[in-house]
């Protein structure tokens, strides 16, 4: 009896081993970026670079077709896309790869992750790889966003900023001719629209990002210059909170769940105005709308978002150079304009913005022209990974406040404490 069972066991194990080996040999085409045998000086030998990215759906199609053109121009460089889902799953994938010592050649990253990768020496500063002309040509806000300690570490790729979307049909019904340019006007216009059309005038999400935007417009900043403490325990912070409260109390503003996209409700005509990223433009397919600059309070402040491209230091020299070539190509004038036109993201270089190609496009596309015009007033979010859990908490506090719990000051204090805790947590 025993012999037979061990025999069967052996067969089972054997079968599994055979099938595993069989499976292994059929998958030979894919490989991570680290397959080249360490820098063979010749630049004409074919190089494959791996690119972890999150450009799904139509965005992916545009990127793929652009990259095909790139590969035609540079036949010895092959770009292997690794689509990695949402930014969340992209981050998990990159982190796992870095932890295993096998990062891709390049990836799209958000700034908080980039800070971590940079501080751990995982990145090659693009300062060393890109031509000076390109670096100096970057729009100042993007250059700042991509630099750490005075050096350019990454390159801006799909960047956007926030604009005011307004529904022209509803504006017409309410008799409003021009979009609001200040907070007061926004509040009034929204109230008028709500009263005259029955549709809420303004939709917003009661989250950290909205608060941060209003905070900046009220003249404040999130952190102190040394990034060690919250800096908004002041009138700016209070005003930002109170503004949000007024919007809700006056019924001018309607709260949109943090899980949804503002653009969806806007597109369905659920509210007449919202402050949203330019990248959402292609999703507004149904509502008749126009775009205007963000309303200001004490000052104009325009949030910027999107991802940057980084190159990992574990990649071989050839791969790094190839990646740099690709990145340089992607952000060259013609291509950054092409990308912007097709996706709604913004061009990233000064010369692109001042070129006649863009100017022509802007004239026939007034909506798309607004985003870039606001960039001189742009700011970017705190680039610390620890802020992400703080932002989640703050969103909760704000939600409660707008629901009627607590006062503006007590809410503000809670938020401040949360931020201080987050930026000081040891790692």
């Amino acid at each position: 009896m025993k012999r037979k069972s061990t025999w069967m066991l052996a067969v089972a194990l054997g079968a599994s081993v055979v099938s595993l080996v069989g499976c292994g040999s059929s998958q030979s085409t894919s490989n991570s970026g680290n397959n080249s045998t360490g820098g063979s000086g010749s630049s004409s030998s074919p190089v494959t670079i791996t690119f972890y990215e999150s450009m799904g759906g139509d965005l992916g199609k545009v990127l793929t077709s652009m990259t095909n053109e790139f590969e035609k121009q540079y036949p010895n460089i092959k770009v292997q896309f690794v689509y990695s889902g949402s930014y969340t799953t992209l981050q998990q994938k990159i982190t796992a790869a870095v932890a295993a010592g096998q990062p891709p050649t390049m990836a799209q990253v958000q700034e908080p992750w980039e800070t971590e990768y940079y501080q751990n020496g995982a990145l090659v500063p693009l300062q060393n790889l890109l031509p000076a002309s390109t670096i100096n040509d970057l729009i100042p806000i993007w250059k700042q966003d991509n630099s750490y300690d005075g050096k350019l570490i990454s390159a801006p790729f799909n960047k956007s900023d926030y604009v005011l979307y307004y529904n022209t049909t509803l504006f017409g019904k309410a008799g409003i001719k021009t979009p609001p340019t200040t907070w007061n006007q926004l509040l009034q216009d929204a109230q008028t629209i709500t009263q005259k059309t029955g549709t809420p005038g303004f939709g917003f999400q009661p989250n950290y990002y909205t608060f941060d935007m209003f905070l900046h417009q009220a003249g404040g900043t999130t952190l102190t210059a040394d990034e060690k403490q919250a800096a908004f325990n002041n009138a700016s912070g209070l005003n930002a909170l109170k503004f949000m409260q007024n919007l809700v109390k006056s019924k001018a503003g309607t709260i949109v769940s943090a899980n949804s996209y503002l653009s969806d409700g806007f597109n369905s005509g659920n509210y007449a105005m919202d402050l949203d990223t330019v990248a959402a433009l292609t999703y507004i397919t149904h509502a008749k709308f126009k775009i205007a600059p963000l309303p200001a309070d004490v000052q104009q402040a325009v949030p910027t978002t999107g991802t940057n491209l980084v190159v990992f230091s574990k990649a071989s020299t050839d791969e790094q150079k190839a990646a740099a070539t690709y990145i340089n190509w992607l952000i060259s004038d013609k291509n950054t304009i092409n990308w912007a036109e097709k996706t709604g993201y913004l061009p990233v270089t000064e010369s692109a913005l001042t070129s006649s190609a863009w100017k022509t496009f802007a004239q026939s596309h007034p909506n798309e022209a607004v985003g870039p015009s606001e960039l001189p007033n742009g700011y970017f979010d705190v680039r610390l990974a620890s802020m992400s859990s703080a932002s989640t908490e703050i969103t909760t506090f704000i939600g409660d406040f707008l629901n009627g719990q607590g006062t503006a000051q007590s809410t503000l204090t809670q938020c401040v404490n949360e931020v201080n805790k987050a930026v000081n947590s040891s790692n």
């Binding site: 009896m1 037979k4 069972s5 069967m8 066991l9 089972a12 599994s16 099938s19 595993l20 499976c23 292994g24 059929s26 998958q27 085409t29 894919s30 490989n31 991570s32 791996t50 999150s54 450009m55 799904g56 759906g57 965005l59 992916g60 292997q80 896309f81 690794v82 689509y83 990695s84 889902g85 949402s86 930014y87 799953t89 998990q92 994938k93 982190t95 796992a96 790869a97 932890a99 295993a100 010592g101 096998q102 891709p104 956007s160 949804s260 996209y261 653009s263 969806d264 409700g265 597109n267 369905s268 005509g269 659920n270 990223t277 990248a279 959402a280 292609t282 999703y283 397919t285 149904h286």
Partner: protein, 268 residues
């Protein structure tokens, strides 16, 4: 009377269960701006079956289906095989440390996958198995669920069954395959279906260990519809709907094997 009550109960439960699914199907044929309108309606103003075509074409779903099938089928077969061996061992033999080993296995179900993610990824990377079928299959060759389920039923079978087999001079394998498995068919068919489903819907692991779109399985295809600024919900619903179809077919087929009134006839 009992039947009437049963009908009522089932209809209520099915309405609860189907409700969201019907909404999903309705969404899949709507134009996008109707999905979020404040005036909710079940039926779209015009039926966009083209969403299904669009969804199918947006990624190589045919390939994803094939991959999902290969991975899920292999995993299911192996986990049933290994599982029945293990369950039999736990149920039939009294060996020292039996309880401890069983508890150890249970422990594996208690650890959240998120914690296992990075160490397992590192293991796979070291084995040079990234972007291979084995990376998708091997970690899941064993299903503790299957072992647990089958052990429960093996235990509840009468000792006389085993003793009769012993008297007949059957080897362990014979007992297992010729006698036990046919007797407990509903159990392992259930276990198989559940393993297959878990494998079919597994997402995060596939995404993390795969760099090659040729190996992607269906759930990874589903994330294609979301970007950080917007999601093509109607296409996502369409794709979710057609991803579910094979599983439903499998369940329909598997149910023919739920035979009533088994287990005892072998003794008489």
């Amino acid at each position: 009377m009992r039947k009437l009550v049963s009908y009522i109960v089932l209809i209520i439960l099915c309405l609860f269960v189907l409700g969201p699914f019907i909404w999903m199907l309705a969404t899949s044929v709507k134009p996008s701006y109707e999905i979020f309108s404040t005036h909710l309606q079940l039926f779209p103003s015009h039926w966009m079956f083209s969403n299904y075509v669009k969804a199918w074409k947006s990624a190589p779903f045919g390939r994803y289906f094939l991959n999902s099938f290969i991975v899920a089928a292999t995993q299911t077969v192996f986990s049933l095989f290994f599982g029945s061996l293990a369950a039999f061992a736990f149920a039939r033999f009294r060996f020292p440390g039996r309880q401890l080993l069983f508890v150890l296995l249970l422990i594996t179900m208690m650890v959240p996958g998120e914690i296992l993610l990075i160490p397992n990824y590192i293991t796979i990377a070291r084995l040079h198995w990234l972007s291979t079928y084995q990376a998708l299959i091997v970690p899941w060759l064993v299903s503790v669920f299957t072992i647990f389920l089958m052990r429960q039923y093996f235990i509840s079978l009468p000792q006389e069954l085993f003793e009769a087999a012993d008297l007949d001079g059957c080897s362990i394998m014979r007992v297992l395959f010729r006698i036990l498995l046919p007797l407990t068919r509903p159990i392992w068919i259930t276990a198989g279906l559940i393993s297959f489903t878990a494998s079919w819907n597994g997402f995060l692991w596939v995404l993390v260990v795969t760099n090659n779109p040729n190996i992607y399985t269906l759930p990874v295809g589903l994330i294609n519809f979301s970007t950080d600024v917007g999601t093509a919900y109607n296409q996502l619903m369409a794709a979710t709907a057609f991803s579910v179809v094979p599983l439903i077919i499998l369940f329909l087929l598997g149910q023919r094997y739920f035979i009533q009134g088994i287990a005892r006839s072998g003794l008489r």
